[in-house]
């Protein structure tokens, strides 16, 4: 579209547009009790797929509950949960191809699980042991796996957004029938990187799905202090991007939207923005106490919209799940997670030599010298560096 075609209508009196000029509907398929709206267009989800989705829900709930507990016991230093946003994350992940490249923020471990990240791999990362794919260098929850096409999480917010645009463009250049998928929060959507990445994706025609988890808070900052427009979706429209808003606690709606977004992105080599309206049911992280900035009533109201319960109800209605099977799944995952905690926390930390690896493709002379000096020092004071001293 050229500048010449931008003015659709000419008027002769001053009339401003405001955020109400743009109404953005929200896609909902399922009610809170798991029954579907009469006129809803159902996505095609068979029993096998539904079970895989629900299995990921249960695993994620258990992992979050147990690892938050492990953090409280001092077994790991830090944790962040996906609680309340499972439908947004799993519903979207389930609509993707395994080779679509995911660039996550940090609250999307359920998508990684959906792709097959094992309980053992999760735990090895959180305990920073020598089997951690990230070699113990980052805080717990900064997962990544090249095998599963899931970029390793970085803490600076928003940096993955323009990167996703680049990944999408690269997939297009390779002629690969895959998209890049970028998750971020409504808070991160304030960063300059968001605007840069969105604008580049639209103008350069990058097949990328931008998936905003609008969960109401960025740490303590509520959405109304984060943006004033019509959510994040209005920005997608502003950048000239196909955009949809969905009920982020509705597994079927998220799945349907993501599937359609993926088809559109591939057919048109164009980006799509999905805004999933949800709520961060838990604290921001294990270092945060939300009672300082929001009320119990507000949380409870959202608990009634629990996305996992809603999907479970749907599964029950379908006859694809029974209460007994459900209870058994929780029990088994609790045992599995606990057993894996006990194994992973006993595995050695990565060897000290790895501290200088991956800074460059090969360690520089300066790095080798620094490592040698460090080892000499540790040999002199082995009791002061117990994690490394036995292994150099």
């Amino acid at each position: 579209m050229s500048n010449a075609t931008l003015n659709n209508e000419i008027v002769h009196s001053v009339n401003f547009l405001d955020k109400e000029s743009l109404t953005i509907p929200m896609l909902k398929v399922m009610k809170a009790d798991g029954t579907v709206y009469q006129d809803a267009v159902l996505p095609n989800i068979d029993e096998t797929l539904a079970k895989r989705i629900y299995d990921t829900c249960v695993f994620t709930r258990v992992l979050d509950e147990r690892m938050l507990g492990a953090q409280r016991q001092g077994r790991i230093s830090f944790y962040m949960t996906c609680t309340g946003e499972e439908a947004a994350v799993i519903g979207s992940a389930a609509a993707l191809d395994d080779k679509d490249v995911i660039l996550a923020q940090y609250r999307e471990h359920a998508a990684l699980r959906y792709r097959g990240f094992t309980t053992e791999q999760f735990m090895n990362q959180m305990f920073s042991n020598e089997k951690d794919l990230g070699k113990g260098r980052q805080m717990p929850i900064h997962y990544g796996s090249a095998d599963l096409c899931y970029h390793t999480v970085s803490s600076p917010l928003g940096t993955q957004i323009p990167q996703a645009t680049g990944v999408g463009y690269s997939l297009k250049m390779n002629g690969q029938k895959n998209v890049a998928v970028c998750y971020f929060g409504e808070g991160a959507a304030s960063e300059g990187d968001f605007h840069a990445g969105m604008n580049m994706a639209a103008t350069l025609k990058s097949p990328t799905i931008f998936f905003c988890r609008n969960n109401g808070y960025a740490i303590s900052t509520p959405a109304e202090e984060q943006f004033k427009g019509n959510g994040i979706a209005s920005r997608g429209v502003g950048y000239g991007m196909h955009t949809i808003r969905v009920d982020g606690n509705d597994m079927l709606a998220v799945f349907a939207a993501t599937q359609a977004a993926r088809d559109f992105a591939l057919e048109n080599n164009a980006p799509v923005l999905i805004e999933a309206m949800s709520y961060r049911l838990g604290a921001h992280s294990s270092s945060d106490d939300p009672s300082g900035y929001r009320t119990k009533e507000e949380e409870d109201a959202w608990r009634d919209q629990d996305p996992v319960l809603r999907f479970k109800n749907w599964m029950l209605h379908k006859g694809w799940l029974t209460e007994a099977q459900d209870a058994e799944m929780y029990k088994q995952y609790r045992e599995e997670v606990l057993a894996q905690v006990k194994v992973s926390e006993k595995i050695d930390v990565p060897a000290l030599d790895e501290i200088i690896e991956d800074v460059y493709d090969t360690p520089t002379p300066a790095l080798k010298k620094q490592l040698d000096e460090l080892k000499t020092h540790i040999r002199k004071y082995p009791e002061s560096y117990p994690k490394s001293s036995g292994r150099i």
């Binding site: 830090f78 803490s155 917010l157 304030s190 960025a218 202090e225 943006f227 300066a366 002199k380």
Partner: protein, 325 residues
């Protein structure tokens, strides 16, 4: 005098400055109602109103640019960057704009009233992105002052001076000391002069220089060295830009030796600048090469944090090696 931890001292300084200057504003991510993720701004919104203490959207680049605009138009903004690791999205606004406002306009405009506060440094099991010490990136930028306090009493006096300084100041707060460092702090309004180092302990054999959270590390190392009969003169640089060449050079001329400790990586770190200057100022007085005990030239690792740190033992060893040279 009152017992305060560093966060309380910073909070106290902000409240005093806001009281004495109604043009002063405090803002950043989560700093309003919540009082900041570390609680440095607790109560300021209640005391001074939400026009003067507020949350911003999550954009460091926006925060810094906004602060530049406020300051250029006569306000006294104190902007919080939640972690020093996240100051980089604001880098352009700080090094190209804050630092050069006065120079590029021939002082038609300046952002003299501007202060950035940001928690920095490691020792908190934070891995790559909650542990960096980025001071050297800013010391290479003319036009900025860089200040780092070592304890609550210093934090209050230096922060008040930074806010009232007529230049943009970056005030890095050692977060591992936020609650751990507790001490007597004068209740009233006072300032420590920027650009002046503080001789924390007199000594005769070697000058040991550091700043911020590393001060307690070098003090510990000096205590160990004292048991070996080595007398350390300990200096807290306090202000890295501009830095107090005179005090450091006078000390080194007396002791004949210098050790510099910082947490940031060795290569390109500020210790290199100090070593070069002191070598020139004190060449004929030096009895051994200037020693640097710094972080490794790697990103800040999580699991090997203890090994990575320029800790007291490494500093003690380097003191001995310098003495035995």
């Amino acid at each position: 005098m009152a017992q305060m931890n560093m966060l309380q001292a910073i909070n106290d300084a902000l409240a005093i400055a806001m009281k004495s200057d109604d043009k002063m504003l405090v803002f950043g991510e989560d700093v309003g109602h919540f009082g900041g993720v570390f609680r440095a701004t607790s109560g300021l919104k209640e005391q001074f109103g939400s026009d003067r203490c507020f949350n911003t959207p999550l954009t460091e680049q926006g925060i810094a640019g906004f602060a530049n605009g406020l300051a250029a138009n006569g306000h006294t903004p104190v902007a919080e960057i939640q972690f020093a690791d996240y100051i980089f999205p604001a880098f352009d606004q700080i090094v190209n704009e804050s630092a050069k406002f006065r120079y590029r306009s021939g002082n038609e405009f300046n952002v003299g009233g501007l202060t950035f506060r940001s928690p920095y440094g490691g020792g908190i099991a934070g891995g790559h992105y909650h542990s960096q010490s980025p001071e050297a990136y800013f010391t290479q930028t003319p036009g900025l002052k860089v200040v780092i306090p070592r304890n609550p009493e210093q934090a209050k006096g230096l922060l008040l001076a930074s806010i009232r300084d007529k230049n943009p100041v970056i005030f890095f707060e050692p977060k591992r000391l936020y609650r751990a460092s507790v001490g007597e702090v004068p209740e009233g309004d006072y300032q420590h002069e920027l650009g002046k180092a503080d001789v924390v302990q007199k000594g005769t054999d070697i000058t040991v220089l550091a700043w911020g959270a590393q001060m307690e590390i070098v003090e510990n190392a000096a205590e160990r060295a004292a048991k070996d009969g080595i007398s350390c003169e300990i200096i807290d640089l306090r202000c890295l830009s501009p830095w107090d060449v005179e005090t450091v050079a006078a000390s080194v001329k007396k002791t004949g030796r210098l050790l510099i400790n910082h947490e940031a990586p060795l290569t390109g770190g500020f210790a290199g600048e100090i070593a070069a200057t002191i070598q020139q100022e004190c060449f004929l007085h030096l009895e051994s090469p200037i020693s640097r005990v710094c972080g490794l030239d790697t990103p800040y690792p999580l699991i090997h944090e203890k090994e990575y740190m320029p800790d007291a033992l490494k500093t003690y060893e380097a003191i001995k090696a310098t003495m035995d040279y």
